[in-house]
Every structure is written in C-alpha cells, then in structure tokens.
C-alpha cells in the first residue's frame, strides 16, 4: 500500500508565524528565538501527513534556550581566553573539536526524540565513535584521495544518520548505492574542466602573458581600465559558479533519492523518493531570486514551496496498515523528557 507524504502548510499562515517570530526575537534580544524555533518546527511537522496522521514536534523552548546559552557562553569563554591566555585557548579549541562528535550524536538524538508520528517518538542510538568516524576521520582521510572518495563519505554520513534512527524501538536499514553520486561527481568534474579550460583559453587570447606571470594583477587592472571590452573578464567566472551551484543541488538530490529508496523500516516499510534534479534546481534558484527581489519577504513562501515539492516526491510503501502497525510499536523507554537540553547547532542535513 503506497501512501503519499502530504504537506498542508500554507505560505500565508507561515508568513504570520515567521514575521511574529522575527519581531519578538528582536524585541527580546534573541531570547524568543527558542520559542520561534519550536513554533516553526511544530508548524512544518504538524502539517506533514502520512495516511491522514501528522508528525509532531515536542521540544520545550527552555531546553533549546539553555542549549543556546551554553553554546554562547562556551564561545565567549573561548574568545576572552584567546585574548588573555592564547595557550589555554588553543587547548580549549582542541577540547571543543573533540566535543564535535558528541554534539553531533546528542543533537541527532534530541532531534529524533522530540519528533513523533502517531504519538510514537523517534529515537537515535548512534554514539561518539560512529560520529567521529563519519564526520571527522573519514572526511580527513578523504583529503588523501584528492576527494575522489567523497561519495563514500556521503554514504557513511547518511548511514550513520539513518541506520541509528529508530521509530519507537523499530530499526531502519539502508544500504545506499554510490553509483549515482559518482555519476554527478564525474559529470561535474568533466564540465568544470571543460568550462574552466575554455575560459582560460579565452582569457589567454584576450590578454597574452596573463598566465605566464608577465602580466601582474596591477597591470591587468590597468589594461582593463584601458580597454572596456576586457572589463567582461571577471564575469566569465559566473558560468563556473552556476555550474558549482547546480552540481551541489544535483549531488544533494541524487543522494537523497538513493538513500530514501534504500531505506527499509522494520523490514516491512519502504520509501520512494523521486526528486528531479531539474525541478529541484529550478525551485531552489527561482526561490532564491524571488527572495532577493522581494527583500526576503517571500522567504516563507519559498520555504513552503520547497517543502511541499519534497513531500510530493516522497512516498511510503507500507507493508501493512499503518494505524495497526503504529499500535504495535513500543516507544523506547526513557525517551520522553530524558534530554536535559537541545544540543543543536550541528545541523547535519539528514534526509529524514
């Protein structure tokens, strides 16, 4: 039985929530930001329906506020120490770096535990070691492969995030293929080389000696002032920027589809993600342009639009009736209220 993921959020309603959040956050010097986050999350989760039932978000603003105060305090201590006792600050920086895997795993756990579907909370069982391997050691080792292993790093991070997630006490399995990611990777490298190569050829033809060091940057500036046609040179980099933006969007889309299509909940429920690279790129880029033209006032509309598209392209292929299934699932013990605070701030962009 295939279920749609239905998003019922409306730009108008979210605009009100968004603007009131901004006003109150400014008026309270940032304190309201914790309440703002909870209202925003509740709005998006509460409007996401599968089989007629919505998700819910349970975080308490005070939990989030305490977490944020601790983060700000830690950074302030670091800044002050770095001025007064640089050596102590360097040690502190190392300690903070060592804390990153802890923050990532605890952040994910908090996020999952305050999310529910049909009154059953999600959970996260990933620990420090997995986070250290996925987010620090493997990306570091990737440098020595000249970043050629990047899709494997992406896969490891995705696996850490999804395989450690539980719905109630039920596990999620996933064996994400990397072929698609390598496809995006290969096409990107090829296009960048081609574009950069032709740009270099154009520039070398326009300004002889530019790449042999005969023309210094100051001289180039002078030549450009002399010949207005050369003033277009800096704009030649735009195709490269665009290429990188679209490549990043395509990489995200292919990764999300590959991961979700490989996910199996409790060995019976599957997922289908059919996000299109062109459609998603169009939505993202046009959203961005609309937000720029309207001086950010259309941000709520843009967010609703992209969320609705992502939900529309996501299906749950249930192995049986969902209401009966949810009734059987046991919530992991100690999930509710166990978290002292929201160790947020490390957003790993999980697809789930």
């Amino acid at each position: 039985m295939q279920h749609d993921v239905e998003f019922r959020g409306q730009a108008g309603a979210y605009f009100g929530i968004w603007i009131v959040n901004i006003v109150l956050t400014v008026l309270t010097l940032g304190i309201y930001s914790a309440w703002a986050k909870v209202r925003t999350r509740r709005y998006f989760y509460g409007n996401t329906f599968i089989d007629g039932a919505a998700f819910d978000y349970h975080a308490r603003p005070l939990q989030i506020l305490i977490g944020r105060i601790i983060v700000v305090a830690a950074l302030t201590v670091y800044v002050i120490l770095s001025g007064l006792l640089p050596l102590v600050a360097a040690v502190l920086a190392l300690i903070y770096l060592g804390l990153v895997p802890y923050l990532v795993s605890r952040g994910l756990r908090f996020d999952r535990r305050v999310t529910s579907y049909r009154n059953v909370r999600f959970d996260f069982v990933g620990g420090y070691g997995g986070a250290f391997w996925s987010f620090i050691l493997l990306p570091f080792l990737n440098i020595f492969t000249l970043f050629l292993a990047t899709p494997f790093v992406t896969r490891q991070i995705s696996h850490y995030v999804t395989r450690n997630t539980r719905y109630g006490d039920r596990p999620i399995e996933a064996q994400m293929p990397v072929g698609g990611l390598y496809g995006v990777f290969g096409v990107t490298v090829l296009l960048v080389l081609l574009t950069a190569g032709s740009l270099v050829a154009v520039m070398a033809a326009a300004v002889p000696g530019l790449f042999t060091g005969e023309v210094s940057p100051a001289e180039l500036e002078f030549l450009m002032a002399q010949d207005p046609r050369l003033a277009v040179l800096p704009f030649l980099a735009i195709p490269i920027y665009l290429l990188f933006i679209i490549a990043a969007l395509a990489y995200f889309v292919v990764g999300r589809n590959a991961l979700m299509n490989a996910m199996v909940l409790d060995r019976i429920h599957r997922f289908r993600s059919s996000v299109s690279i062109t459609r998603f790129s169009w939505i993202t880029i046009s959203n961005f342009l609309v937000c720029v033209v309207t001086l950010a006032l259309m941000i709520p509309w843009a967010r609703i639009r992209v969320t609705r598209y992502m939900c529309d392209q996501t299906k749950l292929i249930a192995g049986g009736p969902l209401d009966a299934y949810a009734a059987e699932v046991k919530q992991s013990s100690g999930v509710v209220g166990a978290e002292f605070m929201d160790l947020e701030g490390v957003d790993v962009g999980a697809a789930f």
Binding site: F15, G16, R39, N119
Partner: protein, 363 residues
C-alpha cells in the same frame, strides 16, 4: 443511544465536549475519544461506549499552544495524550494562556498582519540603522587591549603573506619618515597614544598605499614614499592615524558580526544559498560603510596636519596626483580601496576652510 440526538442536544454537547483521538502513554494505538470538562476535572471517554480512558484535574493538563491549524495535544499526568483539531473547543474547555492567545492573534492571516509585517520591517531597519551602531560602539569600548592586539597580529600576518615584502627604502629615508610620524603621534589623543602606534615600511605589489591596524600599527608602502613628497606622506599617515583614533577596523569587524546575526535571524536556521548570498550583500554594505570611515579619517588628517603646523592641502594634492596619474600603475592600488577621489578633495578643502585659525591669510 438508538435515537438520533436533536439539534439542540448536539449543539449543547458540542459546547461541553471535544472530539479527537486518545493515545495511551508512548503508544501509537489510537482510540476515537471525547474529552469532557466537568467542574475542575477533565474526562476522556471512548466515543462509542462509556469506558473512561483517563481523567485528571484541568490544571494538571499540559496543552500545546495554538498554532494555525496544527493539531492540539493535551497530555495527561499519566502520560496519555488526547489529540484534537478543535482549536476553539480546546481553548474553551481546557483554556489557554494569555501569552499563547496573543501570539496566535498576531500570527493569523488577517488585515492586521499587514501592520505586524510593517512593524517588523521598521524594526529591522531600526536595528540596522541604530541598534547595530550602538552595539558596535559598546563592543569596541569593552574590547580588552590583548584582544585588539591578537586581531591585529592575525590581520598583519595575513596581508604580509599575501602582498607584502621587506622594504627597499634606505635607512636614512625610513629614519626621516619615522621622525615625522613621531611628531604626529605626540599631537594625537590619549587613546591613540595609549595604543603606542608603530610605523612599518613594506614593499608591496599593489603600489602606493597605506594601512592601519586596530592596535595602531601603520604600514606604508615603498611606492607611496617614492612617488610622493614628505608632506603628502605625512598627510596619509595622519589619515591612517584617524582610522586608529576612531577604531574603524574593530568597528567594521563588529559590524559584520552584528549584520551576520541579523541576516541569520531573518533567513532562519535553515541555511542555504540565500543566506550565503545575503552575507555577500552584507560585505558590499561594509564597503559602503568603509567609505564613510574614509571621510572621517580625512577630516581627522586635516585637523592633525594643521595642529602639527604642516600643510593640510598635502592630502588634497595627494588625491589630485593620484587621480591625475591613473595612467600610472602605482596609483591603482589606492583607488581600488579609496574611491570617489574628487569628492574627497572637495571635502578636504572645505574642512581646511572651516579649520583655518582666525586671522590667517587665505592661500
């Protein structure tokens, strides 16, 4: 329950009970249920049947805030949950806080939301125009000296690596200019002297230019010394001391932090390319802001030159030479970071006119 209720009965029922779903603690098993308030107690019964599912004192219930059409969750002390979409019913039967009511009243799509939005826009502009500058001034005032030095050292190391090399000026020339510099320092305010400004000579590929770091270190390039008279170099040094006096470097740094916070607030925690580009826009604004700083430093330089008994017009002639000699490669360095030269020449002339000591003869 065999006969259908009359309309009156149904309406009355609706006023005293809510329809929804009830979940046992931590369970996904939903039971269609109705919640009734009787006195200070709240009861949840099965919809079809009389079985009592849970009950509690109304004041012990934990009710989620009203938020557009999102489901309302009422959590009972035993951990079980009653979920309903009947917002008005929840507010009437169980109650809601005034704070929650106010927030919701502001948020809902209604003509008054336009006023809220206009207020929001005015607030953002107000924070940008007045709030951030005040915060920047406070932050600059409370920044301890070691932090200023740390920031300056880092900045110096950065530009040394990127574009500076050891000076090729003769020791005698350096000595002369250092004396000129010392003579200017003596006349500066206590704030500048407390920073103990240091003059550094460096050769740079960028041509004639000078920089001031927040801790008072001033760097003069070889081309500046070679191409301009001592008086003109003194005027440029005075200009850079103006940056030190007004703490322009630190102000710019704190301003960019404040702007970052403001933009992040508007674009939200869902970062994306909009956030990135908005921050690039912030950098452009910082550039415009630095133009204002240049004017302040110019005015300061004119005053300092007059106090030192030097020719303040040297600053104007420096600008003139540089704008005339655009064909000279050396001048381009200055122009890229110091635009609108004509306007600045006029401003310098005007300032000299205002500052001329009484009784002196016009030039």
């Amino acid at each position: 329950m065999s006969a259908p209720h009359s309309d009156d009965d149904g309406a009355a029922r609706h006023l005293t009970e809510l329809r929804g779903e009830w979940f046992p603690t931590g369970s996904g098993r939903a039971t269609p249920a109705r919640l009734r308030g009787v006195g200070k107690q709240a009861y949840v019964h099965e919809v079809d049947g009389k079985r009592l599912l849970t009950s509690a004192a109304r004041e012990d219930l934990d009710i989620s805030q009203r938020l557009d059409s999102v489901a309302r969750r009422t959590t009972f002390p035993d951990g079980s949950v009653f979920v309903t979409y009947d917002d008005d019913g929840v507010d009437r039967l169980i109650g809601t806080s005034d704070f929650s009511r106010l927030i919701n009243w502001l948020e809902v799509p209604h003509p008054r939301l336009l006023l809220v939005a206009l207020f929001g826009i005015a607030l953002i502009i107000g924070v940008y125009r007045y709030g951030i500058p005040v915060l920047v001034t406070v932050a600059v005032a409370v920044t301890p000296q070691p932090v200023v030095e740390l920031v300056s050292d880092a900045a110096l190391q950065g530009i040394e690596r990127q574009m500076l090399s050891p000076t090729r000026l003769s020791d005698a020339r350096q000595q002369d200019l250092s004396e000129v510099f010392e003579d200017l320092i003596v006349l500066t305010s206590g704030a500048v002297q407390a920073r103990d400004p240091v003059l550094l000579f460096r050769d740079a590929a960028i041509g004639a230019n000078a920089f001031a770091l927040p801790d008072g270190t001033i760097i003069v390039t070889d081309d500046l010394v070679r191409q301009f008279s001592e008086e003109e170099v003194a005027a440029v040094m005075a200009h850079e001391l103006g940056h030190v006096e007004y703490q322009h470097g630190l102000r710019l740094l704190y301003r960019s932090v404040g702007l970052f916070a403001l933009i992040t607030l508007i674009t939200g925690d869902a970062s994306g390319i909009f956030n990135d580009i908005a921050l690039q826009g912030g950098a452009l604004v910082a550039l415009a802001y630095s133009r204002e700083h240049e004017h302040e430093a110019d005015a300061y330089a004119v005053d300092l030159m007059i106090t030192a008994g030097r020719d303040p017009m040297a600053l104007a002639t420096f600008f003139e030479k540089i704008s005339e000699e655009t064909s000279s490669l050396g001048a381009l360095g200055w122009l890229s970071t110091h635009p609108e030269t004509d306007e600045r020449i006029d401003a310098v002339r005007e300032r000299i006119g205002q500052q001329r000591p009484v009784g002196s003869t016009p030039l």
